[in-house]
């Protein structure tokens, strides 16, 4: 259908509509089709989420049968200390692992992009991105085996918060490296040279020029690794110990025992938070972008006067 649409768009500009006559498809039909296609995609993507939100206000014990609206499961959520502590644990792990990932990711990216070639650079570069393509199950399993043997020989570390954090940071560092690398690549290396020319020692160049310009990339790397950690089930399942269940783990295990409407409530809260955050950030970025464009245009009209 895509080619049909293209053909028709091309011929649409001319008065003679030869190709579309042959295909017997009018521009109106194309428009109708593309719109309904778009609606179908949106339904496919968002229907499950909408259903979940609606059912979180359902009064029934059975998660799939609607009785009438109530905030019953939200009240239950407030009292569900297991779930709340799981959410808090997830937030804590996500925050810490995102910070660690961004920290190490930034320095890895910096070493790979700004240093002269050093021995082992290619190996380092591919090792830094391996966790991206390695299946989580394998990473989790191998980490578990390593930690178990370590604990056997050294009596440390006990599986729990620290080990989950370790796994998430490992994965997150790889993602953060990719994000920061792409920003560093598009940044003008002349700026570094200019800073050095004006008297900056290498670390001052990083602190005064590179880092401030990296801030947007650091924020996106942080958000990405935060999200990765927050919804990870696989690594957490391998690496957690007794008493350390993250939110996705609790949801997953409860869902296996039968759908519990409290889960709908906690999911709805999460969705609300994420939606607000995403909307706010995209409004902010587009506002900044428009402001910048306006100012640039202003600078040129100023000088032309």
């Amino acid at each position: 259908m895509k080619t049909d649409a293209n053909l028709d768009l091309k011929s649409g500009a001319k008065p003679v509509l030869k190709p579309s006559e042959k295909l017997a498809v009018s521009p109106k039909m194309i428009k109708w089709f593309s719109q309904s296609w778009m609606i179908a995609v949106y339904i496919f993507l968002y229907m499950p989420i909408v259903t979940l939100v609606i059912f979180s206000f359902n009064d029934s014990q059975v998660a799939t049968v609607w009785s009438h609206a109530s905030l019953r499961w939200y009240a239950a959520l407030m009292k569900d200390s297991d779930l709340i502590s799981a959410v808090l644990l997830s937030l804590k792990i996500a925050l810490l692992s995102a910070l660690i990932s961004v920290f190490f990711g930034t320095f890895t990216a910096f070493a790979l992009n700004r240093y002269k070639r050093f021995p082992g650079r290619t190996l380092f570069s591919s090792m830094a991105s391996t966790p991206l393509v390695m299946p989580d199950v394998i990473v989790g399993l191998s980490l578990l085996l390593m930690l178990v043997s370590l604990q056997h020989w050294l009596g440390y570390p006990e599986r729990g918060l620290f080990t989950i954090l370790l796994g998430h940071s490992l994965l997150g560092t790889a993602y953060a490296t990719v994000v920061v690398t792409s920003r560093l690549r598009e940044m003008d290396s002349k700026l570094d040279e200019a800073a050095m020319d004006l008297g900056c020692q290498p670390f001052q160049v990083f602190r005064l020029v590179t880092l401030p310009l990296l801030v947007p990339a650091l924020v996106s790397a942080f958000l990405l690794t935060f999200t990765l950690s927050f919804d990870d089930v696989v690594l957490s399942s391998f690496l957690s110990g007794p008493g350390y269940s993250t939110m996705p783990m609790v949801i997953f295990s409860r869902a296996r025992l039968g759908l519990n409407p409290t889960i709908n409530a906690v999911a709805t809260v999460t969705i609300a938070v994420v939606t607000i955050a995403v909307l706010a950030s995209s409004f902010y970025t587009s506002h900044q972008e428009r402001k910048r464009k306006r100012e640039t245009a202003q600078a040129y009209s100023d000088t032309n006067k």
Partner: protein
């Protein structure tokens, strides 16, 4: 042209480059055994096409590259191995490299702050620089809020703020459009002279080099082909390559027939050249006779005398407004260019496509090239 007399004043050498060579990756010779001295207050231009090594040489002066061989001295001090942040040299970058997250004021103050100067001194110097480049009222703007010409002036102010002994300019006007470039060129030279800083500039634009510099080094494949004042390089090129690179030129191949102290005659296929001064050559030697298009006069009538003229057919006319360039095809098949000033509103020599024309020139118009 603008600064020609400066070259004659004897001053102490500020920059001395001794036999500097730069080899990249063990194979590519970017700069090949270059030596030069630049006197205090001079504006020295490195002129050449892309890949001629001019930028590499500049980067070695700034400290971003280390020479493979040779030494660099600034005011008598060996700076070859000093990192960029320890040299009393500042650079204005090609695309300005202004810090986008800092305001104009902060950009200019950046280098001063690194020196740990007290705040009053920094303020005073930044204000002075802003006044110098006439951007005082733009101090609070960010670089993206400035036009190209303003950005260029911020870059200049930033590189002058630390009062460097030597200022490096990397294609200083490359990012500006033609009209703006002409006014900015003179502005830039005025500011540099007001501050009195010594300058090394890199450019591929011969006009830029000629208007701004007191001396020009023409570079090719990593070495200097010729070093001299702009008029020297233009009127007395020392080789075919230099003559060809700087401006337009017609070169006739010939053999010296008569070699006297006060004149020489050179026979080429097209005509006999009578050169009104002696040269360092001998009878029977093969030489090139270089003749600039603007030194040729075109007429419809045959000129008197036996020397310094040839006949041809006008095959091309290119109108430039102030002048017209005619392409003249000679009997030998050689095409020469002649530039005629349009000093009346009808094309003054009255020639058009297909006409037969005579080109003639003065006995002091040409340069004999032995290389």
């Amino acid at each position: 042209m603008a600064t020609a007399p400066k070259a004659n004043i004897v001053r102490e050498d500020l920059l001395r480059v001794e036999g500097v060579t730069k080899i990249f990756d063990g194979a590519v010779k970017a700069v090949d055994n270059v030596s030069l001295t630049v006197a205090t207050g001079e504006i020295f231009a490195l002129l050449g096409g892309s890949g001629c090594g001019k930028s590499t040489l500049l980067r070695m002066l700034a400290g971003f590259e280390t020479p493979t061989k040779g030494r660099i001295f600034l005011a008598g001090e060996d700076i070859t191995d000093l990192p960029p942040y320890k040299r009393h040299i500042n650079m204005m970058f090609q695309s300005y490299a202004l810090f986008p997250h800092l305001s104009v004021w902060e950009n200019i103050a950046f280098g001063l702050k690194r020196d740990g100067l007290p705040n009053e001194q920094i303020n005073e110097q930044v204000e002075k620089m802003l006044a110098l480049v006439q951007l005082t009222k733009f101090a609070k703007r960010k670089p993206h809020q400035l036009s190209g010409g303003q950005q260029q002036r911020v870059a200049l102010a930033r590189s002058l703020a630390k009062r460097p002994k030597l200022l490096l300019l990397d294609e200083p006007l490359g990012a500006l459009d033609k009209k703006l470039r002409e006014t900015t060129q003179l502005e830039l030279v005025n500011i540099i002279e007001e501050v009195g800083v010594t300058c090394v500039l890199v450019t591929h634009d011969q006009e830029e080099a000629m208007t701004m510099a007191s001396r020009i080094a023409v570079m090719n494949e990593g070495y200097f082909m010729q070093v001299g004042a702009p008029d020297e390089v233009y009127e007395m090129p020392n080789s075919r390559q230099v003559a060809d690179f700087i401006g337009n030129v017609n070169i006739f191949d010939g053999v010296i027939e008569e070699d006297e102290a006060d004149h020489v005659t050179i026979r080429s296929e097209e005509c006999v050249h009578y050169v009104g001064h002696g040269i360092s050559g001998h009878t029977g030697m093969s030489v090139g006779v270089a003749l600039r298009p603007e030194k040729i006069l075109l007429t419809k009538e045959k000129p008197a005398g036996d020397y310094n003229w040839c006949m041809g057919e006008v095959t091309e006319m290119v109108y430039f407004g102030a002048h017209t360039t005619y392409h003249l095809k000679l009997a030998s098949g050689k095409v020469i260019k002649a530039q005629e000033l349009n000093n009346t509103r009808d094309l003054s020599c009255g020639l058009t496509w297909g006409d037969t024309a005579y080109a003639h020139w003065n006995e002091h118009a040409m340069v004999v090239l032995t290389q």
